[in-house]
Subunit: 304 residues, 2 copies
């Protein structure tokens, strides 16, 4: 069966792709025995598609990213977004372990919840996460819980590593030593320029020292960095949720739709490069960041 | 007159150089009108030598670095180390401004306090600082106070950017955006592996998020990074002062003499590369960090 990823032309990555997509919610009680509730976005058309495992941010529901995930999926990707805990409850779950169980489930259970003609390519799996979910994604990639799959690429969307409370079972991720992440896969980091700013009485979404800048600093080449200068950490959420989040999370003045196009486009360009072997779009963004619909200041590629 | 810098052979940088050196203390009352008290280390032999401006760390006296500075100077450099404030007093001085005044004084006053046959090469001036002095050096290089000289290279020795108290006149240096320092000169950063650890009830010398890792992250290429894994921030001081400092500052178990050789050697290799145009030693350290007398884990060069 033909691999349908990455068919659109130059910088179409910033627009919705050519493929119609469907969303699938899988309960924990499903016969495929998923380790937790899942939100899946996948193309409708027959095909074998690369996979993206998406880890949601702190106190954010996996469905609140539906617009961003549909943008990405429409370019030919199946996205699986687990829900680690119930929204607005304090996260007492060992999220990296749950993410690892979901990863293993991709091999055993995913096909059974997808239409038969839509097949996951289990040799092309990338990992991403937003906010605290970025930390979870890095923790999983770093092997803090064993998985049966090998991830081909890792992308943090405004990742943030709040220190764990004492007796918390999860290990810390950041070491504060440049290039110290023991990872040889390509890494991408998308940061937001307003994520480090407080909102009213609330602390910043992604404070200095534990945010995107340090995640990039600790990444070995090949690694890339994109700073969405004029936006905040929650501006990638669906419109209605972004508006809600803007009460507690510093938000950009610009259109949230443009932000989702910008971030979605970077994710697609990254996946095309490192799952699909087509790096034209990623190179184009690196060479001329102004082709993006949002201000990317700056974009950095470290190849060697 | 012959330029005598950089005459020693391969990796002699980690040993005392061939030149005998002298130390000169210049009071503020000197007829050359230095902006503050200065500690100068310079070769004795006739010659024209490149210059290094050295900014001391928080509550550390400029003479407490005599062994490190003599090591560097013996390879053919004149070092000028201003004293920003009296030791153990809270620093209420605008240090970057003072450092700028000292920089301007190099052109007008330095020759008059040196023996006539020892001449500074004012077209080859590098800038460095230790601990908080590293922040001062970066602040000066970034133009936070105007100077009449152009620095050719910048090196931070375990630099740390403690936030300024409110109403402090000095600007913050760190932006938490990778490669954001607006500097086109070569940058080097030496970090210590123990600098981020507390000592008894004292806070760390160089806490995570405001230390060497972030300074390196914000440096544009060409930049280099060296982590002295097994040592602390005060281990570059003279033996007696390092022993004193180890009561309040996490210190390595290894020989402080080796640490000074290691750091001194990196500084000399860096100066040879970027003031002298001879980068063999710097490349040798990058290619095989184990040639250093201390564990450098890791060493990073970013060229492009």
């Amino acid at each position: 069966m033909e691999d349908l990823e990455c068919k659109n032309g130059n910088l179409g990555v910033f627009e919705t792709g050519n493929l119609k997509v469907q969303t699938i919610k899988v309960k924990k009680s499903d016969s495929s025995s998923p380790p937790t509730q899942l939100y899946i976005v996948a193309p409708v058309s027959e095909g074998t598609y690369p996979l993206l495992l998406f880890c949601h941010g702190y106190c954010i529901h996996n469905t609140w990213y539906s617009q961003l995930l549909q943008h990405i999926s429409s370019h030919g990707y199946i996205i699986v977004a687990p829900q680690f805990y119930k929204c607005m409850l304090i996260a007492l779950n060992y999220e990296v372990k749950t993410a690892a169980k979901v990863t293993d489930w991709l091999c055993t259970g995913l096909q059974s919840v997808l239409p038969e003609k839509v097949q996951p390519n289990l040799s092309k799996v990338a990992l991403t996460g937003h906010g605290r979910g970025g930390k979870i994604a890095f923790g999983l990639a770093l092997g803090h819980a064993p998985v049966s799959l090998k991830f081909k690429a890792l992308l943090g969307i405004d990742p943030v590593a709040y220190p764990n409370p004492p007796t918390w079972p999860e290990p810390e991720i950041l070491t504060y030593v440049p290039r110290s992440f023991d990872l040889s896969i390509p890494i991408g980091v998308i940061g937001t320029g307003l994520g480090n700013q407080p909102k009213c009485m609330m602390p910043p979404f992604a404070p200095n020292g534990i945010n995107h800048a340090e995640f990039f600093n600790e990444s070995k080449p090949p690694c890339s960095y994109f700073l969405a200068k004029d936006y905040g950490g929650c501006d990638v959420l669906d419109d209605s949720k972004a508006a809600l989040a803007s009460w507690v999370c510093k938000s950009g003045k610009g259109s949230k739709a443009l932000m989702r196009k910008g971030v979605g486009g970077i994710v697609v360009a990254f996946l095309k490069a490192y799952l699909g072997g087509q790096d034209d779009d990623l190179k184009a963004i690196a060479d001329a960041p102004t082709i993006a619909p949002i201000t990317l200041d700056s974009v950095i590629f470290v190849k060697e």
